[in-house]
């Protein structure tokens, strides 16, 4: 048996292709005769459309078609509400092209199709739209006041959803509290900003009635379902392929965006392939965003620091529409108690319509906001009670013996119980304290103060519900000619390295090299059962489905090989692409086993000769394929988790605040992280580091700015500050591996881990650094130099 691949730092299979420029992203795919789409978008946050004149644009040379709501037939509908929930009434979703009203700057009003993108953009400027602008209110707290301008007249006070969840008996516990800490915190809006914007290309084969769509999506099966349903086509006539996708981070799990319907529509109508490659500014004003929440959180504690109840009341900005339901707010509300043993919880949120880009998940999906609220509140409680910040957490963390710890009454975003399934929360805290050097820090801080430097230590703990259902599948097949193993699943990768971790899982079962396992994802033509890539779920859900499937194929292989080798199945070992009986010269390649299990009429190679009808080993006393048997070595299976599995971690940092420039210099940043068993530690670290960098962005740099009229004012990479390498500090990561009891591989998700606690950690550190200068609070991210200056100036 070769060395176990699960847990090994294996190099990625996909890299050589991406490194040599052979990646095939949507815009790289050669579609002869392709036409290009560009959109006319609303320049107003809220307006009535009096009329749209496309006549001049239609006449422009090179223009093939101009679409408005009036000539898209069955597409002129309100798009589906993807995740219904009873807390919403008459949930509003947008139309592919605006009819009557526009609700945010960037909303699609018309689509121009032309010979190239240059001409399409020329013509888009010639579409004349007559708008009557309407009043808007951008401030979340103002928007819910009586008399505030409404985004949708159907929704008084702009309330899209109002939802309360309760665990335990909070009312009783509130009365028993000896100390109450209250803070108001705010996390501002950001965006995924994947390096590849969204993309969609479509080709319609009229002869076969087949539509093929290449879509830079996280949810090709979802897109297929949407297309089949809205176009009234059979699902097997719609093939959606997510080719190489340049990052997703949640923005690309939303579907259908208007272009995902309109581009296929144009391809069908025009009889030519059509593509739409979103540009960067469109990505800022047309593709969904996330984050703004304002929490009023209260901790009800004993004098000892033990928190006996938590009440949180928050506003969630859902933008102009709520197509993804309350998912983001629900994740925030069910993560609000973090890793703590708080038995009584009352959490209410109101989702508020604002005339801005719609809000759907971005990496973190409510978790960074919840973490920011609870962790800033814990720091505040510690300060008020005179307990140190590690100690207050230690007194409240869920203990090892408490697992699984269920928060009765709270339902997570999958509609299932919040059950923190496993962990070593106290050990992780201790590791963080040692790694950041808590014991030496006070001395270090005071030495720095003597030199006029403001040094602070920041700390935050987070939990992450990962691996949501409903399910994913796996298909594993040993190829009879090459002996390579083909693996399919229904979700898709945007750079996470699925092709390698899934290959590792299969490699362990079948004894083949990792590079001989070919993972094909994201093509509804190859595997059509499953959901999508989101919520840190691929390794958990698809990983376990593929594992279960690989176990089945292993059994088939051993059984067939034992037959060929005339051995007891228990003696057969799969190793290096062979089935063999150790200690003998009896071995047969997996290709030959796969071939032998497939009764053949034609011998297309020498191995195949042995499987033909007149070969010596062939059966002549019955059907070559016994009833109930299938040819080849192949299986399909599924994994459906009973509920989410909860990863967690601790971040700590030492920061220096430069009083001259108000710059935050992160001197040291450590992360203790536990996502259960790690399939590939290098890839896990990569996920954490990447999430961390986005966390740095959210903590210190990135904020979507709107003016009071609802114009986005920094919808470009000059003004929206994504950190370069020079802005991202080094991070030291240590792992615990507490297996999840909820799945055979014992894994938990890691995709979002890195970003969740960074804002809370740095706010904690900056506050600590400036404590001697007046004790200003940092209850809002991103934290800008101006905010730091203001805090110092107040002192």
């Amino acid at each position: 048996m070769s060395t176990r691949k699960f847990g090994a730092p294996i190099k990625r299979n996909i890299d050589p292709r991406l490194l040599t420029g052979r990646g095939a992203f949507t815009d790289d795919i050669n579609l002869p005769g392709v036409l290009h789409a560009a959109f006319v978008r609303s320049p107003f946050a809220r307006a009535r459309i009096n009329g749209i004149d496309t006549s001049i644009a239609e006449q422009a040379e090179g223009v093939v078609a101009v679409y408005t709501c009036d000539n898209i037939g069955h597409l002129d509908i309100e798009l589906p509400l993807l995740i219904p929930h009873p807390s919403m009434t008459k949930a509003r979703t947008q139309r592919p092209l605006a009819r009557g009203d526009v609700y945010y700057v960037g909303q699609t009003v018309a689509m121009v199709v032309a010979v190239d993108r240059y001409v399409a953009e020329d013509a888009a400027a010639l579409v004349d739209v007559d708008y009557d602008p309407l009043d808007v209110e951008l401030d979340l707290e103002q928007a819910i006041e009586d008399g505030a301008p409404l985004v949708h007249p159907t929704h008084p006070n702009n309330i899209a959803a109002d939802f309360t969840q309760v665990s335990g008996d909070p009312e009783a516990a509130f009365a028993e509290a000896e100390h109450v800490t209250r803070i108001r915190v705010q996390v501002d809006r950001s965006t995924a900003a994947a390096m590849e914007c969204r993309t969609v290309a479509a080709r319609y084969d009229a002869t076969r009635g087949e539509l093929t769509v290449w879509d830079g999506t996280q949810a090709p099966l979802g897109v297929r379902g949407g297309l089949a349903s809205i176009f009234g086509m059979d699902e097997d006539k719609v093939r959606v392929i997510a080719p190489d996708v340049g990052g997703g981070f949640g923005q690309k799990v939303m579907f259908p965006y208007p272009d995902e319907l309109l581009v296929p529509h144009a391809a069908i109508q025009l009889g030519r392939p059509v593509k739409y490659i979103e540009d960067r500014r469109e990505n800022f004003i047309g593709s969904n965003q996330e984050r703004t929440q304002i929490h009023e959180i209260e901790l009800f504690a004993k004098k000892t620091g033990e928190v006996i109840a938590l009440r949180d009341n928050f506003l969630h900005d859902t933008g102009a529409f709520i197509p993804y339901g309350i998912a983001v707010a629900q994740v925030a509300s069910t993560s609000i108690a973090g890793p703590y043993r708080i038995p009584n919880i009352h959490v209410r949120f109101r989702a508020v319509y604002t005339p801005t880009v719609p809000v759907t998940p971005y990496r973190g999906c409510g978790r960074p906001q919840a973490c920011f609220a609870i962790e800033r509140a814990m720091d505040q409680l510690a300060e008020e009670l005179g307990i140190d910040r590690f100690e207050i957490r230690r007194r409240n963390l869920i203990r090892d013996e408490d697992f699984p710890y269920t928060r009765e009454g709270l339902l997570f975003a999958d509609g299932l119980r919040v059950k923190l399934d496993s962990g070593q929360y106290l050990k992780a805290l201790d590791m963080a304290r040692d790694a950041i050097g808590w014991n030496e820090f006070a001395a270090m801080q005071s030495r720095a103060a003597d030199e006029g430097k403001s040094l602070g230590l920041g700390l935050a703990y987070y939990v992450e519900g990962t691996g949501l259902g409903p399910y994913e599948g796996g298909h594993v097949k040993i190829h009879p000619i090459t002996g390579k193993v083909y693996v399919n699943t229904g979700l898709t990768s945007q750079g996470q390295g699925h092709d390698t971790v899934f290959a590792q899982i299969v490699s362990d079962q079948l004894g083949v090299k990792v590079e001989d396992v070919i993972v094909v994802e994201g093509d509804t033509g190859t595997f059509e059962w499953g959901v999508a890539t989101f919520a840190s779920r691929a390794a958990v859900v698809s990983g376990n489905a593929i594992h279960k499937t690989a176990v089945k194929v292993r059994e088939q292989t051993i059984k067939a090989a034992a037959n060929m080798l005339e051995a007891d199945p228990l003696q057969v070992v799969l190793s290096d692409g062979y089935a063999e009986v150790p200690g003998t010269n009896r071995r047969v390649s997996l290709a030959a086993v796969a071939t032998a299990t497939n009764p053949l009429r034609y011998a297309f190679n020498s191995a195949a000769q042995a499987a033909t009808q007149f070969a010596s080993a062939s059966r002549h006393d019955g059907p070559p394929l016994i009833d109930g048997q299938h040819p080849g070595l192949e299986a399909t299976d599924y994994f459906s988790p009973e509920c989410a599995t909860w990863a967690y971690g601790v971040h700590a940092a030492i920061v220096e605040v430069d009083r001259e420039t108000c710059r935050v210099d992160v001197k040291k940043y450590i992360c203790i992280h536990d996502c259960g068993n790690m399939i590939n530690p290098v890839i896990v670290d990569g996920q954490v580091m990447g999430g961390f960098a986005q966390g740095i962005g959210g903590a210190l740099y990135e904020r979507i700015e709107y003016d009071t009229d609802g114009n986005p004012t920094n919808a470009n990479f000059v003004d929206f500050l994504i950190p370069y390498a020079t802005e991202v500090p080094a991070i030291e990561i240590s792992h615990l591996e507490t297996p999840s009891p909820l799945n055979p591989l014992g894994v938990k998700g890691v995709g979002e881990a890195g970003c969740i606690a960074v804002g809370a950690t740095l706010a904690s550190g900056i506050e600590d650094a400036l404590r001697p200068m007046g004790g200003a609070k940092f209850h809002k991210t991103p934290i800008t130099p101006s905010m730091i200056f203001e805090a110092m100036a107040k002192a």
């Binding site: 490194l19 994947a194 960067r280 370069y724």
Partner: protein
Amino acid sequence: MSRHEHLERSIPSTSSDPTAEVTVTINGVTLTRQVSTRMLLSDFIRHGLRLTGTHVGCEHGVCGACTIMIDGRAARSCLTFAVQADGAEIRTIESEEKDDGTLSALQQAFQECHGLQCGYCTPGMIMNIRSHFDSGEELDLSDDGIRELISGNLCRCTGYANIVKAVRRAAELTGRA
């Protein structure tokens, strides 16, 4: 739609933009093409020459995904018109692999160090680093030095730490460290 609608449509294949003749040497191959005068070099390379390894991330010069080498220096292909490249020598990611199909030291280092995830920024990142390696300048292989070297190329996946490692590893592999 009517079954005969397509018969009534005459769909053009190319725009009627004014064009100019451009001769470039790209990855060692000299060729001449007619291009629209307003075509960005990034579009010319990707769609005109079908060298799609060069990616486009912002088209306003900030993200660096479209970075190529023009006359030996790193440049943003989205901030250059194809006509401006007339007579220029261009290198793209497609030149990086060795003739025998093996990865260059830089590419190997990126794979070894897990310096890429989605791979979208990677070609631009590598061409920028390549220009520094080839310039003969002394490489500052401290963490800060490498971060400064790759600052100007946005990556949204890796958090950069592994790219920093990859640059250092590539310097080792090429005897620069």
